[in-house]
């Protein structure tokens, strides 16, 4: 972690009446990092992000965002950050470019609406009423509004929820552009592939607590799950001749002897040995597939829940 993180959270707590939504969490986000908060609905990730955006007061602990206290300096903070919230709307009869110009006027610094519209592929739609935009266009406009003050820190709360896969990929592309521009991004999601693809580090949050934190790869490596290697050969393999592969816990051969499945804790080493053996046996390899444990597997292991529970 860099010496002065963009976000520093210590023992953060949030209580609604008697419900503890956030139970004393700690994390830091470095400049230029894409940090993911991963968790099911009701895990506490939206409460956490809304405290950091200056939208809700915290019940306990400390939080610093861009050097500001979100509770006490929320106007200065809001002027410097970009936020894309879940489920927001604009007036039906507001035009796309008007929205950008209006929201730009709220900040001490803003960038040209033309530049943003072209970048987010909304230039053709600049005169369209908000009510006529598709879901993807509305979400691109939401991202444009989050960028209107040229923020160095962006909060994206479930930016692709409810969008079809094609639009989701488009939004992923835009977030990758923000990452390439060295903007710091805090992203909440319950799409595992989103976190794996976009985040430098992920915190898995459940019932108001962080249950694991690290790069997606570190978290995958912590998993107790085994990697699975699937081999398909042109000829049947002899079950009796199958050796004990290094680091393999289990091997299964299909009835026709052509498909072999091996579970391994060190899949690269095991796969290398399998390839060597197949070559020695003169077997014709038709297909090979390696499946590592996903963040979803890690999440289920840690919380006993599915992400979309």
């Amino acid at each position: 972690m860099s010496e002065s993180p963009v976000i520093r959270v210590e023992q953060l707590q949030k209580t609604y009446d008697k419900v503890e939504a956030v139970k004393g969490i700690d994390f830091e986000v470095a400049e230029g990092e894409v940090f993911g908060l991963l968790g099911p609905n009701g895990a506490g990730k939206t409460s956490t992000i809304e405290i950091l955006e200056g939208l809700r007061p915290r019940t306990g602990g400390n939080a610093q965002v861009l050097g500001f206290d979100p509770d006490r300096q929320n106007q200065q903070l809001k002027d410097r950050i970009g936020v894309c919230l879940q489920a927001t709307n604009l007036p039906a009869k507001m035009r796309v470019q008007e929205a950008l110009e209006l929201f730009g006027s709220f900040y001490t610094r803003s960038i040209s609406s033309e530049q943003l519209l072209k970048r987010l592929q909304l230039w053709e739609k600049r005169a369209a009423f908000y009510e006529t935009l598709s879901g993807g266009q509305k979400q691109r406009l939401a991202l444009a509004l989050a960028l209107v003050n040229d923020p160095q820190l962006l909060f994206l709360d479930e930016p692709t929820t409810g969008l079809d896969p094609q639009i989701r990929l488009e939004i992923h592309g835009l977030i990758e552009e923000m990452k390439a521009e060295k903007r710091t991004v805090v992203l909440t999601t319950h799409y595992i592939e989103e976190a794996e693809r976009l985040c430098d580090r992920v915190a898995i949050i459940d019932e108001g607590k962080i249950v694991a934190m690290g790069t997606p790869r570190e978290l995958q490596q912590k998993s107790q799950e085994q990697s699975r290697i699937d081999i398909l050969c042109g000829q049947p393999m002899n079950a009796a001749a199958l050796p004990q592969w290094p680091d393999a816990l289990e091997s299964r051969l299909s009835e026709d002897g052509k498909s072999l499945t091996v579970y391994s804790s060190r899949p690269a080493r095991t796969l290398f040995e399998i390839m060597k053996w197949l070559d020695q046996q003169g077997m014709q390899l038709e297909d090979v597939h390696l499946k590592r444990p996903t963040l979803e597997d890690v999440f289920v292991e840690l919380t006993g829940k599915k992400l979309r529970d």
Binding site: M94, S105, T108
Partner: protein, 274 residues
């Protein structure tokens, strides 16, 4: 100031694009105007009654529906939620609503007075600009009241009930739609406690009696409206909610009565006078 101007400019554009605003602010009162003006044509004093009724309909519609219901809609549709993440405070949004209502409504008042004069031969009031000023205060006061209702209503359903509870009694008991002189005694007492009464009476004083705004009774009514505007703004800012999930406790509805307190004080004063 940049935020205020941007909000006001956008609110005016949006209002002029909405059919409901055009209908409730212009067409609906105009339908009443032409219907009653045609029916009552030639009766002495009829045109000032028709103009007063049409203006009151417009003012109450603008206040309760234009400001109140629209503010609830924006909260319910998660529009205010989008504003909330920016550095904007409730003040520009509330002031924007007041100014927009006034900018849109004022040309209608002028048009109405000119139509009454040129089409139905109603003499133009000698204190024309004081009348416009008085109506403007009334309009902003009732928009202020509409915004307080929006602040204390948790849902659109609650807001609609509250608006109807105020709109119809004000329309029927203020003397705008039925001459107050014909009310029975009990209704005349209630009439003095109805806020819209002071708008109707002030307009009639200026148009029929040729009084200026500085006459004691009109000045008191204008003062009460100014107090309502200030009180309404302060209460709306205090109770402003950005999100539909932020509910307000039931007792907060009493704030509506707080903003109406100056009118109740006028009612008590009138009661003792009679």
């Amino acid at each position: 100031m940049k935020q205020y101007l941007a909000i006001i400019a956008m609110d005016i554009k949006l209002a002029l694009r909405l059919r409901a605003v055009i209908f409730f602010n212009f067409l609906f009162p105009l339908i009443f105007f032409f219907t009653f003006a045609t029916v009552l044509r030639g009766e002495p004093g009829a045109m000032t009654f028709v103009v007063t009724m049409s203006v009151t309909l417009g003012v109450l519609g603008s206040g309760f529906f234009g400001a109140g219901i629209r503010a609830i809609q924006e909260r319910e549709m998660n529009i205010l939620r989008r504003y909330r993440v920016t550095p904007i405070t409730p003040a520009p949004l509330l002031v924007g609503s007041m100014v927009t209502g006034w900018v849109i409504f004022l040309p209608y008042i002028v048009l109405l007075l000119l139509m009454a004069h040129f089409l139905y031969h109603m003499p133009l009031p000698s204190h024309f600009f004081q009348l416009l000023l008085f109506i403007s205060l009334g309009l902003i006061a009732f928009r202020s009241l509409g915004l307080v209702i929006a602040s204390v209503a948790n849902t659109m359903q609650e807001g609609t009930i509250l608006v109807q509870l105020f709109y119809f009694p004000m329309l029927l008991l203020s003397g705008a739609t039925f001459p107050a002189e014909k009310f029975p005694r009990v209704m005349r007492i209630i009439h003095n406690f109805v806020p819209a009464t002071y708008l109707v009476q002030g307009m009639q004083n200026i148009m029929v009696k040729g009084q200026g705004l500085m006459e004691k009774q009109n000045l008191a009514a204008a003062g009460v409206m100014v107090l309502t505007i200030v009180g309404g703004m302060l209460i709306s800012m205090k109770l402003f909610r950005w999100e539909k999930e932020e509910k307000i406790r039931g007792s907060a509805k009493l704030w509506v009565f707080a903003v109406l307190a100056p009118f109740f004080a006028m009612g008590i004063w009138k009661w003792f006078q009679t």
